[in-house]
Structure formats: structure tokens, C-alpha cells
Symmetry: C2
Subunit: 159 residues, 2 copies
């Protein structure tokens, strides 16, 4: 494995993951109505750290391979929407507005999983936990939006 | 040019650029002390739209080429930090906290520019306006942080 290349992909993940430190879950999230199957708070940083390590590994395995153009396009697309979701949900409290962001993220992760599998079985496997987790996160976002229909959004001008 | 591949890279740019619509410049930005050479407000959306089109074009030209692994790593890294900067600066008003984000973005854009040039002269050229613009944006961020030393940040709990 090319460690420097892995580090560059991991830096991209760090940029996206930094939104979680900048816009952390706090009292506001605690008091939202959530479904019974909501994962416990401690699961989120563990899952995201694992996912970021796995997809940086996957990206550095397939980058530059012949036919890797779609895998790289989807890799870039997923990290952009990954970075966008947290400020929209936790920063602006747009419970419904975060759903199209989550939908784009899900499509990008599905595309990345398929295209990584086509190039390299291990790289494809490394994307599977991410695909499962964004499916759960998307269902949670939808459930929270439904269970808190009157939760006020913050407009940027209010911030 | 592969239009679908271009569209995927452009979707990544759309994800990053959506932060500009979510966290727009408003009254707060207007009343900040800014240096005399601050670009006019109308220049920002024009520059960013042009840059996003150019880098989506560049990414779709070099993706999958032999030796494109670092170009793709830097492409992914720049879009993640691009998406991160706006919520940190305009959402949390971290004028100084946005500087390390801008530094990471600048390094990623420099790396992308060099590695795209190595693969394809036109793709490298397409990154040059971006490199110039993040240099200006970084200098502006630094100047604004210095000219507004007592500007309060927003803690996420305040939002």
C-alpha cells in the first residue's frame, strides 16, 4: 500500500469528519424525539472513524487502476456530501433539508461500493460498512424529521 | 469527454458549493472590517461556478489515466476542505479557526494542480484559476481575522 496516497485520502476524510467536531451532537439532539432503534451516541464516532479508515484504504487501492475513473468520481462525490450533511442537520437544524443531502450521499456511496467492487474485491468490501451505515443514518434522519415535525430550523441570518 | 463522469465530479462540486447557499454572506459579513482589496460580492458566485465547472472537467479528463492516483487523492481532498470552510467561517464565525481549513484546502489545490499538470496540460491549466482564487481567499481570510480580532465566534450550543 502507498502510505502517502492513503494519507491524502485520509486527509479528505478528516476534512469531512471535522464537521462532526465543529457541529457536535448536544442537548438539542438529546431532546429530539428519536425512534427506538436509534444507535447509541458512542456508536457514531466509532463507526465514522472505522469507515473513514476503510474508505481511505479502498480509495488508495483502486486509484490509478485502469477503469478507475467512476470509482474516483463517486469517491469524491461521497466525501463532499458527507462533509455537507452535518452542518445542514446539526448547524442549521434542517431535519427535512438534510434528507436530499443524505439521498445524494447514499447514491454516491452506492456508486462507490459498486465501482470499487468491479476493480478490486477487497476495496469493494471496505465500502460495505459505509453503505450499511448511511442506510441506517438515512432512515434515522427520515424518522427524526417525521417525529419532530414542528422543530424550528435556524436561518443563517438568525445564527 | 465522458459526460456522465463529468456530471459525477460536478455533483461533488455541487455538494461543496451548496454550503454557500446554506450559509450565505449576509449582514454579518457586510459589517466586518475588510481590506481595501476585498473582491466585490458579485465576483464570488461567478468565480466559484467557473472553478467548479473547470475542476469537474479536469477531474473527468485525468481520472483513470495511468499514474492518476495522486491527482485523484488531491481532487477528493480539496473538495472535502472546500465543503468544510464555509460552515466554519460563515456558520460558526470562526475567523481564525477557518485558517487551518483554508491552509489544508490550499495544499490540496496546489497538489491537485501539480498532479493534473503532470498527467494532462489542459487539466492542469483548468486548476490554475482555483489555485489563484484560494490564494486570494486565504489572504482575505487572514486579513479579516486580523482586522476583526474581537469578533465573537458562535459555539454550536449557541446556534
Amino acid at each position: 500500500m502507498d502510505i502517502l496516497l492513503f494519507a491524502i485520502f485520509l486527509a479528505a476524510c478528516f476534512g469531512a469528519g471535522a464537521t462532526g467536531a465543529m457541529f457536535p451532537t448536544g442537548e438539542w439532539y438529546q431532546r429530539l424525539n428519536k425512534p427506538s432503534w436509534t444507535p447509541p451516541n458512542w456508536a457514531f464516532p466509532i463507526m465514522w472513524t472505522s469507515i473513514y479508515l476503510l474508505i481511505a484504504f479502498a480509495g488508495s487501492r483502486v486509484a490509478g487502476l485502469p477503469g478507475s475513473e467512476y470509482a474516483m468520481g463517486f469517491w469524491a462525490m461521497q466525501i463532499a456530501f458527507n462533509a455537507l450533511w452535518t452542518p445542514v442537520f446539526f448547524g442549521l437544524r434542517k431535519l427535512r433539508g438534510a434528507l436530499p443531502v443524505m439521498a445524494c450521499l447514499w447514491v454516491a456511496v452506492l456508486g462507490a461500493t459498486i465501482t470499487h467492487f468491479q476493480l478490486d474485491f477487497i476495496a469493494g468490501l471496505a465500502f460495505v460498512p459505509y453503505l450499511i451505515w448511511v442506510t441506517i443514518a438515512g432512515a434515522l434522519n427520515l424518522a427524526v424529521a417525521r417525529l419532530n415535525p414542528n422543530e424550528p430550523e435556524l436561518r443563517p441570518a438568525d445564527i
